[in-house]
Subunit: 262 residues, 2 copies
């Protein structure tokens, strides 16, 4: 099993063109994970801009990606003093799979916030629960998720009623959080809509995430919540807080609610 760095590696083949090999271990039976695909896009955008961090990423998920070879196209649209913006696309079998707008730039690792919301609270990690973790490959073999039991009633057919999900997150390898790993973190939770009793596949249509600070080493805390489940659509916000108690990433996705009631 390759590491996260290898699984997201991009190889420059020309001006704004990168070859990639998508790793089936970063997915589930239905599709490769969207956060994994955004991590691959981030690597290409960072290489093309020469800037250190993916400040802002907006991604539209058009088609299901398959494990195996694919290409990332990066088209620079604005190169400014503070940031660079590119249109970035993942292409497979000549069809666009993910279209993204990615802003890259610098962040000051020592910045002191002028204002910060206070973090939420997760139970101590030893009081959290796992699921699906005995497999030797796939998503749960790569990522160690420890869920807040208060958000896991859906596992036993007792969804809590509110669209929420909370968990610790870290890779099962020696890879500490960085900007690219945050892309994986913001889409790592099971869909919050499971707790409203909508089961089945919940494909993401659009996900935008922002990197807000340089993460400290250690496990990340993911806080997922939604505001509205209606008309077949739901939103999912995920905040990522690092082990030093700082907000390092925030995301919102809009997705289709699973069609299977509990």
């Amino acid at each position: 099993m390759s590491g996260f760095g290898e699984a997201t590696a991009v190889r420059r083949t020309g001006e704004g063109r990168y070859a990639v090999a998508l790793d089936g271990d970063f997915g589930f039976e239905q599709a490769l994970n969207g956060g994994y695909l955004m991590a691959v896009l981030a690597r290409a955008a960072l290489d093309a801009s020469g800037r250190p961090y993916p400040i802002s990423t907006a991604a539209s998920f058009l088609r299901v990606a398959k494990p195996g070879p694919a290409e990332v196209l990066v088209e620079t649209r604005k190169s400014g003093r503070t940031a660079e913006v590119a249109r970035v696309s993942l292409v497979q079998d000549e069809a666009p799979i993910v279209d993204a707008l990615i802003t890259t730039g610098a962040l000051d690792g020592d910045a002191e916030p002028l204002f910060s919301e206070v973090p939420g609270r997760l139970p101590a990690i030893e009081e959290c629960v796992t699921f699906g973790g005995d497999k030797e490959d796939g998503f749960t073999a790569r990522i160690d998720m420890r869920y807040d039991p208060a958000t896991m009633g859906w596992l036993d057919g007792r969804p809590g009623g509110r669209p929420e999900m909370r968990s610790y997150f870290r890779l099962r390898e020696a890879y500490e959080p960085d900007g690219v790993l945050l892309a994986l973190a913001v889409d790592a939770l099971p869909p919050v809509v499971l707790n409203t009793g909508r089961y089945g596949w919940s494909p993401t249509v659009e996900l935008t995430w922002h990197m807000r600070a340089v993460p400290a080493p250690g496990p990340l805390a993911l806080y997922g919540s939604g505001r509205l489940v209606s008309d077949g659509w739901f939103d999912e916000d995920v905040e990522v807080w690092d082990a030093a108690g700082r907000l390092v990433a925030q995301s919102r996705q809009i997705a289709r609610a699973g069609r299977r009631p509990s």
Copy 2:
């Protein structure tokens, strides 16, 4: 003074090409309003797809738009059963001004939510305050904003400390809320960062918004808040609730904090 419909009108000039005339009244001295530009992009995307609503819009603001002629380019990337996705760009003087990913589709005006967060509360409209409203042209002459006084301390040099801003919103013309007007609504509040004492221009870098329901006639309520002001960046979430008490749009932007302290 033209109406909102005329100010956002697009004229098809070819496959995926639209001519527009940007109206200087939808802006301030520094720039045209980003929400207004997104409304123009929405008109073009809706015309190109033939679908009724802008479900999801992610926009990167690359350069300042000037009043006058411009062009919108629409490139369809996926046309599915539920939704269509296009890359949409506003171009002026041969430079991209705004790049967007826009998903269009249908919404059921009678949908009953499976889950909805409860709305916030604004004071009664007659207890709210206005500012800058005596001008005969420009943004405040077109839009009637009535602000929650609890979020307006910055006007008197007493910023409340929290990045928040709340207001009623309606046009000063007979135009009831629709999908395109929601694009204007999500970017109509003054920057929430004013309440943390950062004055001066706060340019939006990226804004993503989702239309969640078909709005009822009447004034809209805008709830703006941020989670982190740090390292020159801030986030601003805006929820739009309609007069029937339903969440009709939600947005988040990432922007540069004004450089002038209070």
